[in-house]
């Protein structure tokens, strides 16, 4: 198997119908989960599932993107592609978590934010942007889990946090490999080549410092989720303890610095006249 084939294999695993979706992960890790609906402005977007649960007896807010499991169910959840009201629901529940000092756990699994007429009319861009800004200063710990597909701004809108974990066979990228191929090669059928170039695997993201940790899946979440879930529980437990002990001011400084460091560029020596400022 070439490297390109290996990456494409990951993409297929991440999107596969037999991969557990957020709801089944929630059921396994947060068995007492109570779902809370709606953004109190427009409606309830079922591409995002949010609610309350306990983890090791600690109350937490859980917010997840849900793709759905069979045709009818996928339609109900709009294939995990949120509208603005979904992001606004997420933000409403996050603000609620902040009020009650509950840690937040988000689960990312989306091809991307929904590109549609209604989404544009109701301000998709603004809804995503506001979440990015607000999450940066939310005064409570945020743990992010990338479960399957991390598609672009639609994923990032619930992906700003203190500790970011990614399952071994998940992917996280700026755009779908198909979309990338159609821009780069003007040919969306060369998605496998694009996926390889895009560096979208958990290992790639770890090397760039975008994620903090890879959750190993054993045989793979798609066939036997138990190993992955056990590993995830262990890490959530460890991180929750650590983050809840961190004073909020320090937490926010760390969160800002973490994202400030993301990106790679050259920086030449500053000229004297600029230093005079």
């Amino acid at each position: 198997m070439t490297d390109m084939d290996k990456v494409w294999q990951r993409v297929k695993l991440a999107r596969s119908a037999d991969r557990p979706t957020s709801k089944s992960l929630i059921k396994a890790i947060f068995p007492d989960f109570i779902e809370l609906h709606g953004d109190r402005l427009y409606g309830d977007d079922e591409a995002i599932v949010g609610g309350l649960a306990t983890f090791n007896d600690i109350p937490v807010t859980v917010i997840a993107e849900e793709k759905g499991t069979h045709t009818q169910n996928r339609l109900k959840h709009n294939f995990g592609m949120p509208h603005p009201e979904g992001y606004r629901k997420a933000l409403r529940l996050m603000k609620q978590a902040e009020k009650f000092k509950r840690p937040i756990i988000t689960i990312i699994d989306t091809p991307g934010a929904y590109p549609g007429l209604g989404a544009e009319e109701r301000g998709q861009a603004g809804a995503i942007a506001l979440n990015l800004k607000e999450l940066m200063v939310l005064k409570t710990p945020i743990i992010v889990i990338v479960l399957g597909e991390g598609g672009s701004g639609g994923a990032l809108a619930i992906g700003v946090g203190d500790h970011i974990m990614m399952f071994e066979n998940a992917i996280y990228s700026i755009l779908s490999p198909e979309g990338f191929a159609s821009i780069l090669f003007k040919d969306s059928t060369r998605a496998n080549e694009a996926a390889h170039l895009m560096k979208l695997t958990a290992e790639d993201l770890k090397s760039f410092g975008i994620i903090d940790e890879i959750i190993l899946e054993g045989k793979g979440l798609n066939t036997d989720p138990e190993v992955g879930y056990t590993n995830l529980k262990k890490q959530i437990s460890k991180q929750l303890t650590k983050l809840m002990k961190t004073p909020v001011e320090k937490l926010l400084v760390n969160r800002y610095d973490k994202f400030k460091k993301m990106g790679e560029y050259e920086e030449s020596v500053i000229k004297n006249e600029e230093l005079a400022d």
């Binding site: 544009e120 301000g123 942007a129 506001l130 999450l135 701004g153 700026i174 990338f180 920086e267």
Partner: protein, 292 residues
């Protein structure tokens, strides 16, 4: 009688043949390059000097031509007040993406800038401000690591020096060639804006043609005041992608400045000729009392 009619028909067709075969005479008109421009909207030919005097706006249909960052500063700031910042931050090719270096070189030649975002300080009617301009001539004004870092530092600079901030966006979105690193610039820039909130400093976002994708879905939508310049395309997803997804045609005027105003996403739509005046007034309304 029939005979006469046939004769007439024959002559007519002969006449048409002759007309068809006659070569069309064209004489080249000697107009040097760069004297006239054609309006993208109404196709009128416009004398370039007239265009320049009119803020690069078509005098016939008021279509706003795209302008580069340098011209934007010229129209916006008091003369000779711009002081650039962070020009020493430049791009690498972190993903080893094929042909990225060539695209950067081309961008530098087209925009005559070393990256797509020009940052600095300046004055509008004597009022100090931090200002940033995206240039769509540089790789469609796309945001990669450098653009994200320069924007973030500009925001930090404004917060540190108690300056109001104005950013002009003109961008297709996040820069594909830097993959996930570009995506993260959305979080970084948006998050940094909280620094201005803490200090009670105003941030005015001016969305120009086009402001889409990851730029629209981050700092560009987050102004205390969001201004759309006239004739701008503003939105998250591209019209082509939406059409493919929903399988139907989009309404006329979709994602225009007027659409965004009607849908409540921008505070006001402003003509380019009125922008400096509008910004000046808004800055005055947010002026901080000087504490010595």
């Amino acid at each position: 009688m029939n005979h006469l009619l046939d004769e007439r028909k024959r002559r007519l067709s002969q006449f048409h043949e002759i007309i068809k075969k006659r070569p069309i005479e064209t004489r080249p008109v000697d107009i040097p390059d760069g004297v006239f421009s054609q309006c993208e909207q109404c196709n009128s030919a416009i004398y370039n000097k007239d265009l320049e005097h009119n803020y690069e706006v078509c005098p016939y249909c008021s279509y706003h031509f795209k302008i580069n960052a340098v011209k934007r500063l010229k129209y916006t700031l008091d003369e000779d007040t711009f002081k650039p910042l962070f020009e020493n931050i430049t791009s690498k090719n972190p993903l080893g993406m094929p042909e990225y270096e060539e695209k950067l070189d081309k961008g530098m030649r087209m925009a005559k800038m070393n990256e797509a975002f020009l940052a600095g300080t300046g004055k509008i009617d004597g009022q100090n401000l931090a200002i940033g301009v995206l240039d769509s001539y540089f790789m469609m004004g796309s945001m990669g690591s450098v653009v994200g870092e320069r924007i973030t530092r500009l925001i930090e600079h404004a917060a540190k020096h108690n300056l109001p901030l104005v950013i002009f966006s003109a961008s297709g979105g996040a820069r594909m060639q830097e993959g996930i690193l570009s995506l993260m610039q959305m979080a970084k820039t948006s998050g940094a804006l909280n620094l201005l909130d803490e200090k009670g400093l105003v941030y005015i976002s001016v969305m120009t043609n086009p402001t889409t994708g990851g730029v629209a879905a981050s700092f560009a939508s987050l102004g205390d005041i969001n201004i759309a310049e006239k004739s701008s395309l503003i939105g998250f997803a591209g019209a082509r992608v939406i059409k493919q997804t929903i399988g139907q045609d989009l309404p006329a005027g979709f994602q225009t400045d007027a659409f965004q105003l009607q849908k409540g996403q921008v505070d006001l739509v402003v003509l380019r000729s009125q922008l400096k005046k509008t910004l000046s007034t808004l800055l005055k309304l947010h002026a901080k009392k000087v504490t010595s």
